[in-house]
Amino acid sequence: MHFLSLNHCMSIKNITKYMEVCHIYQLLCVISATLCAIVEGRVHGFYGSSNLPKTDLNDSLAYIWPLPKQFTHGNLTVSISPDLVLEVEGKGVIRDAFERYKKLIFKHHAKYSSSEVRENFDYDVHRLKIVVYSDDENLQLGVDESYSLYVTSGQGSSIIQEATIEANTIYGALHGMETFSQLCDFNFVTKRVELSKAPWFIQDEPRFAFRGLLLDTSRHYQPINVIKQVIDSMAYAKLNVLHWHIIDEQSFPLEVPSLPNLWDGSYTKWERYTVEDASEIVEFAKTRGINVMAEIDIPGHAESWGAGYPDLWPSATCREPLDVSKNFTFDVISSILADMRKIFPFELFHLGGDEVNTDCWNSTPHVKQWLQDHNMTAKDAYQYFVLRGQQIAIAQKWTPVNWEETFNTFKENLSPQTVVHNWLGPGVCPQAVAKGFKCIVSNQGVWYLDHLDIPWEDFYTSEPLEGIDDASHQKLVLGGEVCMWGETVDASDVQQTIWPRAAAASERLWSPRDATSTGLDTVLQRLEYFRCLLNQRGIAAAPVANEYARRPPIGPGSCYAQ
């Protein structure tokens, strides 16, 4: 199945082969699904046998995802007033988030008829108090995301109960609200939102500062509403970097005002993002504590650039990588980055640099000539291109991130600021950090979401610091990222493919190492619970227990058992 779970290695030459194999595969899937339906004799449904599955929660587990760094709890239940009020100073972001979380917490309706309205019921918790110590709303890598959450139980005292979140920044407070919302549960018997196992004392902060999700909007356009929903779901799992792989060989959907023909490379005029759209996405993400790291992948993966400016191609028949011999190419890159600097404030900017097949440089006469004139091999020119691109980004006050081939190929020649983005396999970050480079882990064997055969267990157990024991080296590992490449992913199946496996990785990246290394039995139950939580919040997370990703449930059953 390796063929079918393609990574971002999609040259035009391979498409036909890919299509054929995939088509057969999809056909087989449909045939087997249909056969299953027939075999079950199902038309309106088969007759179940006597014992219907009953699912009860394991009371000893903390159903918070990801698991907080430190927490203690009791065994009492407190009720949360449906008129819960927020007490906070200023902080529009917090107030907006509170309104969102209130809707999530109070999603079920208890008031039915006046005789059932428990107007006089004495709820335990009436107020959520949030204290944020800093006014600074700047969101960058390494921002303080810590928080404390206290929910006391009262128990006979006359003090009005409140839940309290304390944080150094609003971003810590947002995480605190997310955790609080996960502790709240609607009790169908009492018809009240309750918080069990109080009192809670939680002190939490992430293990890694960079906890990313890559979204590919070139292989398939993703509508803005879908991107926003992905951002919301990231916040539920405390992921904090959206790596927006905007452009690739198949399409160029983003507006670049100084080069208005570039988005002629979009699939259609409707499958585009204006600069306002992009800014809106950045702002939306910021209010959820999420940075957006944009990527302009060069010099490979850039065929779509030539739809508007054919000069960027080595030739009309040989279209990748970008033509290294022309200053125009670098003018274009400069203009793109200048325009994007106004949209993307995150300090990291991704320049790609992966899977560069330099054949077209060698075979196109004027490029070949240029190589000779400059005494470069194609490999030298690859290095030249990447380094020049890095300088342009650095001039825009960005820190460049590059895919690992750049490190593998020309090691210390990379700008020392470079963040090396590992993807090919294990063992790369240890080498990169040994040479003083920062590193992000996305080893495709375990963290590529488009690889449907990677189970959640592998996402969960993959350890970014594997093979890195020196403390100063460990600090250079910024974190990791799961990658949602878009070859077979559009608006119809993106959330199903991302979740729940991205959540498994999010706990690996957030929670302490010893907490995530104790064995998987209890993790499964907690992940099932989190997946059902996502479903309740409108996120189409797939069944956890399926062997392959984004498959339908195998039959009728409880969300918590599938």
């Binding site: 995939c22 219907l52 208890a110 070139s218 879908v226 199903q496 479903n535 409880s558 969300c559």
Partner: protein, 384 residues
């Protein structure tokens, strides 16, 4: 709703535009009943998902949400008169309070969508006995509902009474499909009851259905039943019954010839869980097939596509429904003479609508191929 589909954002001028103006549109649906069935018993569907589906229905001008709430596998709905019934839910949280149901009804109403509640009796009701085991013929033989027990009908009466406070559509669906009554014959006390009343098992089936119908009517409802009731004892059904065809394409003509109203859902063309049924088939399924007399045509009140839930939970709900349900929606709305004779001519328009759904946050699947396939390769939304 139509207006919103005429508006396009011009990406160059940054203005929302309407092309080909002036427009004069006089529109009304061909059928008054244009339904979508959802099944929240095989898998619980969270409220957010149900609301999302209602939104999609409004976009495609479908107007009846047939809520198949309860079935063999689980009983998720609160019934205030019999509070143990929802112990048949999969878990304590995979449930709907009556307030939730009311909220759904209101949400739908504001979008011009009716909610048709179904309580399928006497078969497909195993889950009722989790809370009240005396509803089962016996603990080893748990379907259909015990026809010999007066309690059974008390419960049905209370359910319908509770329904009537929340589900204000004039119809209620009483199911009645796929009744395997062997448990009635093999369970001693039920067998004795049958003997005492001189009923064989199909008489008892008829007795059950008719009695349930009367209860529903007493609560002010008009009744819909699946077609087996008509096939088995059509002339004894209440003449106001609406027969819901599902088994095949040859039933509707018989129903309307008998003077009863009919809803068309023949499974070979309008079952969404049949993934091998393409959108073209959904589009081409004509409710008036073999019905030529206009008086009889008038008895076909409409049709319904069915999203059974065995393999459908929150993760693949929208993908399996759309865009194929939209193809059927046009069949049910648009006048017969304006419908395409060859579905190829509407491919572009349906693709466009599918991409519109995507833009509005509805996870409609690619058109090409069977139901809910993932896109096979990178491409524009409009070409897949």
């Amino acid at each position: 709703m139509t207006f919103s589909q005429l508006c396009h954002f011009n990406i160059t001028t940054r203005i929302v535009e309407i092309h080909n103006a002036p427009w004069t549109i006089a529109d009304q649906p061909r059928f008054s009943y244009r339904g979508l069935l959802i099944d929240t018993s095989r898998h619980y569907q969270p409220l957010r998902m149900i609301k999302g589906v209602i939104d999609g229905m409004a976009f495609s001008k479908l107007n009846v949400l047939h809520w198949h709430i309860v079935d063999t596998q689980s009983f998720p709905l609160e019934i205030p008169s019999y509070p143990k019934l929802w112990e048949g839910a999969y878990s304590p949280s995979e449930r709907y309070t009556m307030s939730d149901a009311k909220q759904i009804v209101e949400y739908a109403q504001r979008r011009g969508v009716h909610v048709l509640a179904e309580i399928d009796v006497p078969g497909h009701a195993l889950s009722w006995g989790i809370g009240y085991p005396s509803l089962w013929p016996s603990s080893d033989c748990q379907q259909p509902l015990d026809v010999s027990n007066e309690f059974t009908f008390k419960v049905i009466d209370s359910i319908l009474s509770d329904f009537s406070k929340v589900f204000n559509f004039k119809f209620v669906h009483l199911g009645g499909d796929e009744v395997d009554n062997s448990c009635w014959l093999t369970t001693p006390h039920v067998r004795q009851w049958l003997n005492r009343h001189g009923l064989n098992e199909s008489d008892a089936y008829k007795y059950f259905v008719l009695r349930a119908q009367k209860i529903a009517i007493s609560h002010g409802y008009d009744v819909i039943n699946w077609e087996e009731t008509f096939n088995s004892f059509g002339k004894d059904l209440s003449p106001r019954t609406v027969v819901h065809n599902w088994l095949g394409g040859d039933v509707a003509p018989k129903v309307v010839a008998a003077g009863l109203r009919c809803i068309v859902s023949n499974q070979d063309m309008w079952y969404l869980d049949h993934l091998d049924t393409t959108w073209q088939k959904f589009y081409m399924n004509e409710p008036f097939t073999n019905i030529t007399d206009p008086k009889q045509q008038a008895l076909v009140i409409g049709g319904e596509v069915c999203m059974w839930g065995e393999h459908v939970d929150a993760s693949d709900f929208e993908q399996t429904i759309w865009p194929r349900a939209a193809a059927a929606a046009e069949r049910m709305w648009t006048p017969l003479n304006k419908l395409a004779k060859n579905p190829r001519t509407v491919t572009g328009r349906l693709a466009h609508f599918r991409c519109l759904l995507n833009q509005r946050g509805v996870a409609a699947a690619p058109l090409a191929g069977p139901g809910r396939v993932a896109p096979l390769y990178p491409a524009s939304c409009y070409s897949q």
